[in-house]
Each structure stands twice: as structure tokens, then as C-alpha cells.
Symmetry: C3
Subunit: 339 residues, 3 copies
């Protein structure tokens, strides 16, 4: 078991208290026992009285008082490192399972793990250290980088390019055909083949059952470190900028451009062929019908600047009061007119 | 073929008419022929003239008049029993398929069925009578109870606990990582490992392609008999109370608590860290932004009490009329002022 | 390499310019080089100055001026044919993979391709020329027509009937149980077995991770050439008319009827037991709460006719102005009263 001083070194933090204390694990604040370390965000500072943890990670400038504590700049990131440290990831499968189907022309890097019932097609390349779990289908001519983690039953269609350290959660579908149709003279929908590709940058994370469509002829692109939650839809020819994070069940329509460090809540819908600039924040359930400027915060269907939306919402919920005022005015005017 | 009197006994109902009639099957009301039994809900009482069914199941106090009928308390539940009786479920696969991959340390109870290409990881335990269909991935250290039905290509990540009689539909993903990120000083998203678990109570049903995320360090919990429709998203650390039913494409954000016998329509969004009390009903497409008290009925984005929402909706759709009144008043006041 | 005159013949178009030019491929307008053909929609007519393509496909009546061009009635459909021509589809797998599991009683037509880890159950029939990719689960008693394309990890439950030329994208689930429950006297949800079927007409396309539920006892039906995008939910007993196209993340509740050539945007919700007539268009994110007449264009939650919705939206976003006017009127009336 590591000692508290070792943990402090790991976190590059400032130790107060008993550095010799042995730490068995990391726990949630209210569940931690004397052998555990936990973390206290700034807003809990007043409420540490009942905490039974052996030690806490606290913000350097948070002022939290606790017998054994490690002061760090960013307690949440320190917590993330503690979780990694106490819960090291083990590979799903050691080596390449006999029950996997890997094409002869596929190329697996050093230390690649492939689970049973995974399929890897012709000429696809998997970078060193990556894991392909059971039931994953990697079509032909796919490139997957190093140290990726592709969970069970994900599907990656042909010609998709995936960078290093990408995590793809179960059931995600990368590179299915974009939803492109023409209309014949009689109104019948006619499929437009989708022969473009999907490119996913280093460090991206794709949620469970999320879908990222291939472009008609160009590319659908996620830049580095984009984080998509579950059940997200990314239409064909979309581009999402680095470090953007998009919550569950949001949908981005075709050919839309999203900037860097954009944050979207869940169930947002974004129209096609528009531009969301860097640093924009979008409230959950919003409907974005036109381009949005850098660093704006928006909400509503159709979207408005957040402050305006809030004001309108209050009024919209009090329309009955407004109508009552109108009635009163009508009555008064009638009285005035009769005089 | 069973006789009508045997069906009446099965349903614990009161028979009127020919108990010796042989019943070949159960059918929809307007499709049933002389050999079929069907059911008539209360609101169809007036319209049984054209019905050609051999017999009907009707509500005891519904007053429906039909030659051969079985009176029961709850015709819908009786119908459910008839469907079970005439359409008994057969296992997907007898025994454990040669083409399945079951870890040596996995434990299968008596009468477990495992289909081809199913994967069951180290130390996972499957209770007696459960079925694991083709392509299902059960990661390591999973517990699945008795008489569960896990449909094709569902994925169950490590450490998930599933009770008895749970049905998981195709493509559902249980225990994928919650969507948890910190932000580095430069704004980059940094993954917070998700090492908690998911616990699913007895009798729950999880829809196709629905996702239930594992918690960061605690538990995501579905209490007994929770029913989730397809494409639902349940965030990390959520708790849903017993007998609650949630319709398709609804999303519940992280750490929210939902009570017992809550009913939600489709495409509802629920914010994080809030509490929906027992017996609440939520209209489809609502956006729940704060806690909701017991037995309230709510609608809208953000949600309001249903009655208030309805009134506001009527007004919101008639804003043009309100503006017209305002114009008229302005004109009249101008006239009065000029006098 | 084909010559431009051969391409013109393929597209049944009118050639202007150098028919002997060799064409290497089709490209996006702004990416095409001297060896490529591209297409220019009407609205780009003014902007062909910088285009470096060897040739263009343009609308017959579009008036676009470009050295080498093929005039056609419908440039988008011509573009679709070019994509097919230059990117012919190759089968996922030649023949039936040794690693597939096909029941002895299943019937495969001539030239059927079945990938590794695909499962085809008892008595299921796959029509000539169809492809079943890796990890697909076809339950028992399924009928799949000719020249279908079933992508990896799709799931097709028992008794489903699929026509010819149907495309089912990865992870789609056809025929999972509808969301049908009764309530016991104590409020507990009781499952109503779903023993009906799903029927999918010729030429339909089903998006990735889309779910189409089986009916309780009748049929869920997609008529010919219906196009569903990704992550769509189709409830039990729904019927969708021919050539309708439904965008991503839209949900159709049980027993609703949708006409022919209906077009829906993304994230639309449609209530149960209603009727959407032929040719209706529904804006993204709308909530359809009642039946809609033929060829109407609707938007909003609840839906309104598009024109009315637009007017109301403008007013709803300017409620603050309306309130200000009210305040002003109140003040003026007070002044008048005091006189």
C-alpha cells in the first residue's frame, strides 16, 4: 500500500499531516474510511465535519481544514490521477484471440490485443498497444493509431482514420453512410452514395452507440481530444474543433462546422451548413438554427443569447399575467372613453 | 386447442357463453376470427357490432355485450397472459453454443443458454435459466441473476450487477464510462476514470440501444421493475426508483434521483443533480431543470405544472392576437390623449 | 479511364466541350483537379471562376458556363450515378465465412455473402445477392429479400420480413419488443408480450443504431423506399408510407400512421395513435401532438402551421418589448385617469 507522502508526490501536491499513513484506495467523500483518500471540491469546505477519510485532496487555495490533506491546484484532475493509480486498466484480452478474424493483409502493431469475434478487414492497420474488444467490426482499409481502446461491438467502416489514444465505447458506429438523398421526378428518394471518410483525431472519446457518418465525398472530422457522450449523432461532412465536449443525444446536422472548446448540453440539435465558433456554450435541448459567434452562451429553440433567453422564458411562463394586465387596461380605456 | 372454459380459468375470469368453444389463438379485436379470442377495452364498448371473434375478454364492470365473453378485473393484464399462453417463448439456443467464448473462471447456472459468438469474461456469473444471445459481450466480474434474457449484441461492462428476470434488448450498453471530464489549465478536457458500477434490480427491462453509464466511483442504480424504452440515456450515478417507466430517447443526466412509479414520455431531458419524487408524470419532450415534487404532472422546457403549461401554451400560440390588442389600445390611448 | 463522352452517355446528358478528355474520378467542386469531374448545383453558377475540374455536370437550365460540361435534368442524381460508377461497391466477404453460424434449416439464395460471426437462425431465408456482415444476428423465421445489405452488428429479431434492396446500417435493431405495459392494482408495471412483426418494404434504408419495434400482435410497417437516418425510434404498430424520409434521433410513438413522401427533420417527436398525411413536412425538433393534414408544413412544440409558428416565434423572442409597451400604456392611462 502506498504511503500518503508517495501519493502527494504522485499528485505533485503539498502534504499536510501524517505522510506515513498507508492509503488503501480512493473513495467518494462520504464513503471514504480511515484507509481511503477522497477529494473535496471547494464548495464542500464547510461540510467536512462528518468525513471519516484517512486523507483528503483539497484545492490549494480552498482553505479546507482536515488533519491529513494534500493541497493541489486542481483537485478534480488530482482525483482523476488517483482513480487511474488505484484502478489500473487491465487489457480485455491478452494478445490476439484464436476466435478473432484478422485478414491476412491486416497489420497489427506490437502489443495489440484483439478479443474473440472481432473482425479486422483487409489492409487495416492497428497501432501498437491498441485493444480491439469482442465483436468489434473493423472494415477494410481502416487506420487505427496507438493505444486506442475500442470497446465491444463498435463498428468502424472502411477508410476511417483514427488517431492515437482514442476511446470508442460499445456499439458506436464510425463511418456509416451519411443521410444523403436526391429526389427523382416522381418524388422518390434516390440514395446518393457516401464514399468520403471519417477522420478522428488523437485523444478523442466516442460514447456508446454514438454515430459519426462518413461524408458524401469529403471528410467528417473530429479534431484532437473531442469528447462525445452516448447516442450522439454527427452528420456527414461535419467538423468539430479540438477539446469540444458534446453531451448525450445531441445531433449535429451535415456540413456544420463546430469550433474548439465548444461545450454542448444534451439533446441539442444543430442545423446543417452553419458555423459554431470557438468557445461557444450551448444549453441542453437548444435548437441551433444559425451560426453562433465566438464564446457566446446560447439557449432555446431557436437559440438566443442566454441572458435574452432567460428573460423571455420568465415572460413566456407568465403570459397569463400579461394578458390579465391587457384586460385591465382595456377596461380602464373603455371607462375613460365613456367619460 | 384449449376450450374457452379453460381460458376463463387461466384468467381467473367469469365466463358467459359457450365454455366448450375451442380457441386457436389470440388476435387483435378487428382481426380475430371465430376461432380467436380478443380483448375489448372499455372505450370500445359501443363498437362490437362488426367483431367476428369467437370470444372476448372484457372488463368486469365495462358492460360490454358479446355472446362469448370472459369478465375480468383488468382486461389488459388478461390480454398479456393470453399472449404468453398462446406464444410461449422458446430459447434462442439450446445449451451453450460451441461457438461461444466462456472464460474458464466464469460460472454458468443450471439451464443457462449461451448463443454463438457470445463472450463471457473471467469470474462472471450467470444465474440459472438465463439466456445470453449471439454476440453479447459480458465483461469480467459481472453478475447476472436467474431467468434473464440478454438479447443479441448487448454489451455489459465489468462489475455490473443484474438481478433476476431482467430483459436487456439488443444493442443496449450497460456500464460504459460516465461522461466525466476535468479541464486542464489550457482548457483541454481530461478524462476522469469511471470505476464505479451499475446495479440493475429484479424485473427491469432495458430497451434496444439504450445506454446506462457506470458511475465515477459510486453506483448507478435501477431499482426493481424499472422499464426503459429504446435509445434512452442514463448518466452516471443516477438512481431510478421501482416501477418507473421511461419512454424512448429520454435522457437522465448524472447524479439525478428519480423516485418510484415515475412515468416519463419520450425525448424528455432531465438535468443533473436534481430529484424527481415518486409518482411524477412528465410529458414527452419536456426539459426538467429542477427538482419536482411527488405526484406532480409537468410539461414544457423548462418544465411547469401541466395546467400552467397548457394555459401558457395557448397564450404563446396566440401572441399575434395579444399584440393586436396592444396596438388597438395604443391607438385608443393616443386618441384619448389628443382629446 | 473513361472518356467524357462515355460519362455523358452514362448520365444521358448533353455534352459540351472535349469528349475525348479522360476522367479519373469524381470529386467535390472545390477539390476537383483537371482529371476529375464534379457537379455544380444551380446556386453556385456565379462562382465557377476558381474551379479547376476537368469537367462539370450542370443543370440543363442552369446556365452555368464551363469549358467541358454535361447538361442534365437533375445534377444531384447524376452526381449519385457518378459516385456509383467511380466507387463500385465490393462485397464485405466472398461467400459464406467459415466462422459464420448458419442454421441447417436456414435457406441462403444464390450469391449470398455472410461474414464471420454472423448468426442466421432456424428457417430464416436470405434472398439472392444479399450481404450479411460480421456480427449480424438474424433470429429465426426471418425473411430477407434480394440484394439487401445488412451491415455489421445489426440485429433482426424473429418473424421480421424485409423486402429487396433494403440497406440496414450497423447496430440497427429491427423487431425488438414494443414498449407495452399494463399496470397491476399496486401500480407495478406488467409486461405485455410483443408477438407481432415488423415488415420492411423494398428499397428501404435503416440508419445506424435505429430501432424499429415489433407490434404487440399486428404489424409495424415501413412501405417501400422509406429512408430512416441514424438513432431513429419507430414504436410498435407504426406504419410509414412510401418514400418518406426521417432524420436522425426522431421518434415515432406507437400506432401512429405516417403517409407517403413525408419529410421530417431531426429530433422530432410524434405522439401515439395519430395520423400524419401524405407529403407533410415537419421541421427539426418539432413535437407533433395531433394529426396533420396532407402537405402541411409544421413546426414547434406543440406543432403549428409553419407560417403561424414563425410569427409566434418572432413575438415570443420579443416578449420584453411587448411588456415594455404594456408598461408604457399603463403609465399613460394612469396619467389620463388622473386628469
Amino acid at each position: 500500500m502506498p504511503k500518503l507522502k508517495e501519493i502527494a508526490a504522485l499528485l505533485d501536491g503539498e502534504l499536510h499531516g501524517d505522510g506515513e499513513l498507508e492509503i488503501a484506495g480512493v473513495q467518494a467523500l462520504h464513503r471514504a474510511g480511515p484507509g481511503d483518500i477522497a477529494y473535496a471540491a471547494r464548495d464542500r469546505e464547510g461540510g467536512l465535519a462528518g468525513v471519516r477519510a484517512g486523507a483528503l485532496v483539497v484545492a490549494r487555495d480552498g482553505g479546507a481544514v482536515f488533519a491529513n490533506r494534500i493541497l493541489v491546484e486542481n483537485p478534480q484532475l488530482a482525483f482523476a490521477r488517483l482513480l487511474e493509480y488505484f484502478h489500473p486498466r487491465r487489457p480485455f484480452w491478452e494478445g490476439v484471440a484464436a476466435g478473432a478474424c484478422v485478414a491476412e493483409t491486416a497489420v497489427l502493431g506490437e502489443g495489440v490485443h484483439v478479443g474473440p469475434f472481432a473482425f479486422i478487414g483487409d489492409r487495416s492497420r492497428i497501432g501498437a498497444g491498441s485493444e480491439i474488444h469482442s465483436g468489434v467490426a473493423v472494415y477494410r482499409d481502416v487506420v487505427i493509431g496507438r493505444n486506442c481502446l475500442i470497446y465491444a461491438n463498435a463498428v468502424i467502416r472502411e477508410n476511417v482514420e483514427i488517431g492515437d489514444r482514442v476511446i470508442i465505447h460499445p456499439g458506436a458506429v464510425i463511418g456509416a453512410d451519411g443521410f444523403g438523398f436526391g429526389r427523382a421526378a416522381d418524388g422518390a428518394a434516390v440514395k446518393v452514395p457516401q464514399v468520403g471518410k471519417v477522420i478522428i483525431g488523437d485523444g478523442c472519446e466516442i460514447g456508446a452507440n454514438t454515430c459519426i457518418d462518413r461524408s458524401t465525398i469529403e471528410e467528417t472530422v473530429l479534431e484532437a481530444n473531442v469528447k462525445l457522450d452516448n447516442l450522439v449523432q454527427v452528420g456527414h461532412n461535419v467538423r468539430i474543433g479540438r477539446d469540444s465536449a458534446i453531451s448525450a443525444q445531441t445531433g449535429i446536422s451535415g456540413s456544420t462546422r463546430i469550433g474548439a472548446q465548444v461545450i454542448m448540453g444534451g439533446q441539442v440539435g444543430v442545423a446543417d451548413h452553419i458555423e459554431i465558433a470557438d468557445g461557444v456554450m450551448v444549453a441542453a435541448k437548444s435548437g441551433i438554427t444559425g451560426s453562433v459567434k465566438s464564446r457566446m452562451i446560447v439557449a432555446g429553440i431557436p437559440h438566443q443569447e442566454m441572458g435574452a433567453w432567460r428573460k423571455n422564458m420568465v415572460l413566456a411562463r407568465n403570459l397569463a399575467a400579461m394578458r390579465e394586465k391587457l384586460r385591465l387596461l382595456e377596461k380602464k380605456i373603455k371607462e375613460l372613453e365613456e367619460k
